[in-house]
């Protein structure tokens, strides 16, 4: 009972912080799982599960209007179940994803309900009632926090024993398979990140970063620094060429050679 209250509260508070402080990333698994772990008395597992889940959920970010699977609920409940049932990281991985997908649809409902608030918001705006607008804004947030609290509370209260026996009954081969799948899942996240960024013309940068690690095993930070230097070189290069072209031909077209590196 107490555990269920705590988990529900953590989910609600984290979401409140996330949206009151301008999206500071406190709902990412690396943070959520750590906090759940600390509160449930197993900080170490929390951190390790958080690291694994962060990889899998890396690409699930809210960009534009699309609603991604709910990482907060997925990571929070996945970690809580893994710790409460004493099963390791694999169990958290197996549970986090279906939970995140379920919670995604709850989020959609909140977004729809809050659309109905907008008529009221327009009325408040017409009265120049700024206090009312701020109250409404926070109320909309609290509605979602309450949703998270209920989800966390109910899931832990009724779910942990059910989830425990479910996890214990998963055959060994399936667990191995899930481990392999766990290694593969980050590919989906990275593909999602690449989707808006990568084009035929700039795939070389992706390959360069990949090859620097695959063949040389350079640290990510080192590769980032190479990237920054390369970006400077290319951006300045482009400036020189564009200006030349613009001066010479009065057009903004860039030559074919440059196309290969166009972003």
């Amino acid at each position: 009972m107490q555990t269920a209250l705590l988990v529900g509260l953590i989910l609600a508070v984290l979401w409140f912080i996330e949206k009151m402080l301008g999206t500071p990333m406190v709902i990412r698994p690396i943070v959520v799982s750590t906090i759940i772990g600390a509160v449930l008395g197993d900080l170490q597992t929390g951190i390790l599960v958080g690291a694994s889940l962060e990889l899998i959920f890396m690409g699930f970010i809210q960009v534009g209007g699309a609603v991604p699977p709910d990482v907060l609920v997925g990571a929070g409940l996945g970690t809580a179940f893994a710790i409460l049932s004493g099963s390791g990281t694999e169990a958290a991985l197996a549970l986090a994803l279906p939970i995140a997908l379920l919670a995604q649809s709850l989020k959609v409902i909140v977004f729809i309900v809050r659309s109905w608030f907008m008529d009221f918001a327009m009325r408040l705006a017409r009265e120049a009632n700024i206090k009312g607008l701020i109250t409404l804004n926070v109320a909309g947030l609290l509605l979602q926090c309450a949703m998270y609290f209920v989800v966390g509370f109910v899931a832990i209260l009724f779910g942990s024993s059910a989830v425990e026996s479910f996890v214990n009954n998963i055959p060994k081969t399936i667990m191995n398979g899930l481990e392999v799948a766990g290694g593969l899942l980050p590919a989906v996240g990275f593909a999602l990140l690449l989707l808006p960024m990568m084009k035929k013309t700039n795939i070389l940068y992706f390959l360069l970063g990949f090859a620097l690690f695959a063949y040389m095993e350079l640290p990510i930070l080192g590769i980032t620094l190479f990237g920054v230097v390369l970006a400077f070189i290319i951006v300045y290069e482009m400036k020189g060429k564009e200006m030349d072209v613009a001066v010479a031909e009065g057009s903004t077209n860039v030559d074919d050679e440059e196309d290969l590196f166009d972003v």
């Binding site: 962060e54 699930f60 700024i130 409404l136 481990e179 593909a191 960024m197 090859a211 690690f213 695959a214």
Partner: protein, 273 residues
């Protein structure tokens, strides 16, 4: 140009701080109908209450900013800053066409979402994850702490100074930015760094190895050993590109997640990976 070089006076600095503090609730009531509009109009209040003393004018301005709005939350202050400069002009110049304010906002929110998303979600967050994760994987509490710090220090700096820059450049920002190509440069540079980092992280984090063993003349040859000599990590690369291709073809992320789980379990049952 002289206007932009001019230092902000005391009241303007106070305004910048107010814009900074009012900007955090942008997405509190995010919804499908108007997205971040409620949060944005609240973020405009420091400007509105300063420039319009009449309640009707205040109401008109608040309503104006209740139009649908969506951008990367971390960079919103730049747009608030620009809109603030426009509201100031509108409050002083009766001939000023107030429609311009919303047009400029619409013109800004797209590019800023593009730059903001690739800068914050695609670059700063990925770097923070990359560094935080390597520590967290060893079970160190420094992992999550470093992750939050590495993300939020640039976040706060950009949130504050973005407002200052937006306000200073005012109406001219997009003109100038387009003329000198600053936007394209930032966007291009951020994409290059982002792609390289994603490439490196794909290589370090996606795990796929073949456990196939060929029998050649009684000698057992594990396929992965050969792959390692030619192109280590070729399989993770191919799989990631394949996922990208499926997304590009319009497949839903949740569908390819399920495919990946099936591939993982199926492949391991068949003993090929």
């Amino acid at each position: 140009m002289s206007d932009e070089k001019k230092k902000l006076n005391k009241d303007e600095k106070k305004l910048m701080r107010e814009i900074f503090w009012s900007s955090f609730m942008l997405e509190a009531s995010y919804n499908y109908e108007r997205q971040q509009a409620l949060g944005f109009s609240i973020g405009m209040w420091p400007a509105i209450k300063r420039y319009y003393k009449n309640k009707n004018d205040q109401a008109e301005a608040l309503e104006r900013h209740m139009n649908i709005f969506n951008t990367t939350p971390h960079v919103v202050t730049t747009i608030t800053g620009v809109a603030t400069a426009l509201e100031k002009e509108a409050s002083q110049n009766p001939k000023f066409d107030k429609n311009i304010i919303n047009n400029v906002k619409i013109g800004l929110m797209g590019p800023f979402a593009g730059i903001g998303d690739s800068l914050f979600w695609g670059t700063i967050r990925i770097i923070a994850v990359g560094i935080g994760l390597s520590l967290a994987q060893q079970g160190s509490i420094l992992g999550p702490i470093l992750f939050l710090l590495l993300f939020n220090v640039p976040h706060m700096v950009i949130r504050y100074y973005g407002g200052v820059v937006g306000y200073k450049f005012g109406t001219k920002i997009m003109d100038q930015a387009n003329n000198s190509g600053i936007m394209q440069k930032i966007s291009k540079g951020a994409t290059i760094v982002g792609l390289m980092v994603i490439g490196a992280m794909t290589a370090s984090m996606v795990k796929l190895e073949s456990s196939l063993v060929f029998n050649v003349g009684g000698e057992k040859i594990p396929m992965q050993d050969y792959l390692n000599q030619i192109f280590p990590l070729l399989l993770p690369l191919l799989y990631t590109i394949f996922m990208y291709y499926l997304l590009k073809k319009g497949m839903k992320p949740t569908a390819i997640l399920l495919i990946t789980i099936v591939v993982g379990i199926g492949g391991s049952l068949l003993g090929i990976i």
